[in-house]
Amino acid sequence: MSGPRLKRSLSVPLSVGQRMMQSSEYMASSSEDWPSSGRSCFEFRIGIEGEAAATAARKRTSSDLRDLQELMARLNDLTPGIEVGLEEDFEFHLAVARASHNDYFVSALLSLREEIFRGMLLARTSAGVDPGEKIGAINSQHALIYNAVFSGDAEAARTMMRSHLLRCKMSTSHWDLADVV
């Protein structure tokens, strides 16, 4: 996946393509199986966080809901393209896990903190699209999760969390093209 080789074979004048080519330099120098490890992390999160959201819909208290509301407000106030909001996004997911009142979900997320940040960075920053669009989509997905937890609908909470994480995983897939040669 060497940069020059990519440049020759993918002479597509897309900004997405440009970024991918340039990315090969640091991808080689960072964790060797990244971004596939970022995607594995999303897959794993789909299982545990889907279940955490379903449990949260059954067990949430008014104070859990206030925490979630406050985090959604903080996420909405971020300036797209300037503030990436990794910490706030992580805190939102942690707050859903806390609302399940099951410490094992919370511990799992805390122990994955840095892996989760890596995956989120791919999902929250843009390659060739308006960063505001990506962030706006993520914010509305969080709102759907919140609504399901708020209304105590465990099935919907599971579905919304799973589909949110699946979309985030898919939105990292432009990195795959860096391997296409």
């Binding site: 279940e51 706030e88 805390l110």
Partner: protein, 246 residues
């Protein structure tokens, strides 16, 4: 600049890149560069540390290798890790270790957590399993059929669940089930102690394991997820409620 750099190397046996690396670690630890923060541009950092771009890049590469920052061309570098940052409220925060199972309530929570991990692992296994992994699963399931002592039964049951987590091809699933062995064994030990002598229980577990393997072998991810979820829910109710045993 060069002279200053040389004197640093001579006096302290470190390179300029080491100095920049250490200063940036300091900024991350102090919280001046919190997780999620974007680092200043390379040009700005070169000015700040008074060094050339190749040297600065060595320092950034080391931070990346150590998992403290992640870079994206076009977007810049971002703080990912917190190093061993000494911030009072973070130091006081609980370590991300798994709580021990200290009550039946904990055991129930842990079994719900297992549903989250293992139902998805079974679904992923259905999509990715190799023939060799199917053979492993069948062998593990067969050992549970003939398990002699109750201790053996727990061990064989654990081995079956670990084999599925491994067949998922997802390192997080496999690591979770292998590193939480003691947690799983506590629940499995209890359930096989209670029910190991009951033929109906034993048969039910074997047929549920069979259903999971069958769905994985057919490559039916949804059925595999559901079969694992049903199996774990049934076990949880059997152990904690007794309701599904009747």
């Amino acid at each position: 600049m060069l002279k200053e750099g040389l004197s640093v190397v001579l006096e302290r046996g470190r390179s300029l890149a080491d100095i920049a690396y250490e200063e940036m670690i300091g900024l991350i630890r102090s919280g001046a560069w919190p997780p999620g923060a974007r680092l200043p541009s390379e040009a700005e950092l070169c000015r700040r540390f008074g060094m050339s771009r190749p040297i600065l890049r060595q320092a950034l590469a080391r931070l990346r290798r150590e998992g403290l920052i992640q870079s994206r061309q076009g977007s810049g570098s971002f703080v990912i890790g917190t190093a061993d940052r000494e911030e009072p409220d973070r130091a006081a925060a609980p370590q991300p270790s798994f709580p021990a199972i200290a009550s039946l309530g904990d055991l129930s929570s842990f079994m719900v957590f297992r549903e989250g991990v293992e139902a998805e692992a079974a679904a992923m296994a259905a999509l990715r399993r190799t023939d060799a992994q199917i053979a492993d699963l069948r062998a593990a399931a067969a050992r549970l059929r003939v398990g002699a002592s109750r201790k053996d039964l727990s061990e064989h049951d654990y081995a079956f669940h670990l084999a599925i987590a491994r067949a998922s091809g997802n390192p997080f699933s496999a690591n979770t089930i292998s590193s939480l062995r003691d947690h799983l064994m506590l629940g499995l030990g209890l359930i096989w102690n209670f029910a190991g002598g009951r033929r109906d229980f034993h048969e039910q577990v074997l047929s549920q394991h069979e259903a999971i393997i069958g769905a994985i072998e057919r490559g039916d991810a949804d059925a595999a997820r559901q079969a694992m979820r049903d199996h774990l829910q049934w076990s949880r109710l059997w152990l904690l409620d007794g309701s599904s045993s009747r």
